[in-house]
Symmetry: C2
Subunit: 438 residues, 2 copies
Amino acid sequence: MTVRITGLEVKDVRFPTSTANDGSDAMNQNPDHSLAYAVINTTDPSLSGYGITFTIGEGTDIVTHAVLAYAPLLIGKTLEDPVTDMEVFWCDIVRYSPLRWLGPEKGVVHLATAAITNALWDAYAKIAKKPLWKLLVDFQPEDLVRLIDFHYLEDVITQDEALSMLRDRAHDKSTRESELQSLGYPSYTTSAGWIGYPDEKLRRIIREKCELGWQAFKIKVGRNLDDDIRRAAIVREVAGDTVDLMLDANQVWNVPEAIESMKHLAEFNPLWIEEPTSPDDILGHEFIARHIAPVGVATGEHCHNRVMFKQFFQRRAIDYCQLDACRLGGINEALAVLLLAAKFDVPVCPHAGALGLREVQQHLSIMDYVAVSASLKGRRLEYADSFNDAFVTPARVVNGHYQLPDVPGMGVELQPSAYETYEFPNGTYWNRKWVGKV
Amino acid sequence: MTVRITGLEVKDVRFPTSTANDGSDAMNQNPDHSLAYAVINTTDPSLSGYGITFTIGEGTDIVTHAVLAYAPLLIGKTLEDPVTDMEVFWCDIVRYSPLRWLGPEKGVVHLATAAITNALWDAYAKIAKKPLWKLLVDFQPEDLVRLIDFHYLEDVITQDEALSMLRDRAHDKSTRESELQSLGYPSYTTSAGWIGYPDEKLRRIIREKCELGWQAFKIKVGRNLDDDIRRAAIVREVAGDTVDLMLDANQVWNVPEAIESMKHLAEFNPLWIEEPTSPDDILGHEFIARHIAPVGVATGEHCHNRVMFKQFFQRRAIDYCQLDACRLGGINEALAVLLLAAKFDVPVCPHAGALGLREVQQHLSIMDYVAVSASLKGRRLEYADSFNDAFVTPARVVNGHYQLPDVPGMGVELQPSAYETYEFPNGTYWNRKWVGKV
């Protein structure tokens, strides 16, 4: 029986991570990790699609407002074949002229596009009774390329070239899938390294994570060079010289400052410096990368669309691609970036150091290995603990490796208790907060 | 007496330009030119600041929602010295972390930043009893550079270098100001060339504008090459071979399509092709520019911040800079781009083919000539007729030249009748529309 979309709801859900300095960095000192949480309801009462984009507190309401602006493009539409449908949905949403004007394909309207597109994908995966990664890896190459909007990319990759790449890697997909089923997907953790953590907490969490089998750790830098040096030294002291150390400046430096700072931090042998400067500065990243090699340059969590990633790759300006399917316009555009990255042989290490992001990006890293890049070289998927219990099926990591999700869908559905508590401003947590402030 | 900000109001005002296909182009076929109209009220009942950003109908409410999110950063603040204050206001607004996350410095939050920043500038110009351009040109170079956020620009221009550029051009400012007072600032018109206009209307308006003294005309292209060729031929037939002809594709082409289309349109000797592809594609514009010279490449109305313009200039990817102080974060950031453009010797021809935009950008073109680039070479400021009467002090053009505004402020204050009629959804025009649809 054909399923039809009957409604689009959206919730503003804010988790008070700032109370413990979880998520803090040099740019964002008091973030409350938050979700614009889109729910697509259908004629099948047992089928809803849940999708998110990620925000850090205030302003989440601007995104939820934008999500609802797209409702007329969805209501009444049928959900039949994901490939045929999503090709159309993507164009309907992204090319809708008056809302496109407010980006285009960037900022609030693109965050809203992500939440909606991801909710649609959750619904399709549930209809197929597969976790999203499995729905994606099972697509034939000729179907996959239909999901990708090649417009504005044709000067560097054509649909034919993409098809040929995907076909080359299709014959041994099942081998790689079995490998991940038994070993999991390698991860690194950001849980220890938030900038607001005192040294003792950094030291304690690094020790705990080492004991749990983690071998890669990211710390936030950029507020103060002396702090950065001291904190990097703590990681090396506790975890040793063989683990991977990642640094993340969250955009606070200009180009000369990034190069200068990395002169002092290179002695800790970091794998990469992340967001060393403005996320829009392709040429700046290129310049930094030339000057700090062999330390790598990473960016992507604020890289807003496939056209920007295209250029980062063309200029070989980044060594690690940190795409985010909640900053890009959802799964469709993330697939485009996976293909571009594979073509330019840049490892993809998605932005996943927060609640919800872990749950979304794991599907893309698995898809990348099984069907697109066919490589794990240089690849680790970020992880951070935070409100894991808020989700019905939270991401699971064992021995530093993501375990393959086995429940149908994308896995971002919240427990009812989570939004009853944290929906803003009327959830019980915030309601009390506001009462207290009067 | 010190003036203090007491309130921030915002209106969603939509002008029904689509009914006559005014504003139509290959990407935006039915735009209703609209304003997110910010009003800053003060302790002085005779002083309000009016600022705008520009939208095209649906979704303007998302921008007005975003404007209000910044209210806590403004209410209660004093308006004293524009230089000292605006340096702080800019950083407070643009670096406010939770809202910054939703861009950063792009999309809806940056459009909101523009409306607010522009409203502040309107208030400061009124306090100084000067039209905005005059307030700007009268600043000393050492004050002007304080208004510019050099962060992320330092690898191509430093504050010292900017200061030296401005000082070089300061001694003969008054000569250039007098010249513009008598001659006006040269303009081109887009009034004839909207893509939805039938050939006869194009022909008639070109003829009328020639008679009024215009010598430069822009037409929209990109929907259909045969149409483009026929319409370009009409302009040359009616206006002759000596006028300037500009073409505008509004982002519809990919890179190879742009180059191919321009092969067929080059015979009409266009001055530039505007927005030939994605506004984010710096390298794409560079590639197009190399392949279609001597036809120029122009872009900027969707270029979202100074970091993007920096790179367009670094790669010499554009021949004309079409900055928009309502897409950038208002006057402060537009000043940064004027300086960058002057350094790279790229003429600035702002995006002004719509109501409200004319009124804002004229101040920047005048500023550019008098105090920054000191050149008119290759420079024309766009103009289009549309709802001129909606403004208390609309931009005035005589003989194809903008006349210098002489009323204090920025000049975007709407007539009360304009928002009583066109405020959405409760203005009398829209109210009737909705009633009619029930």
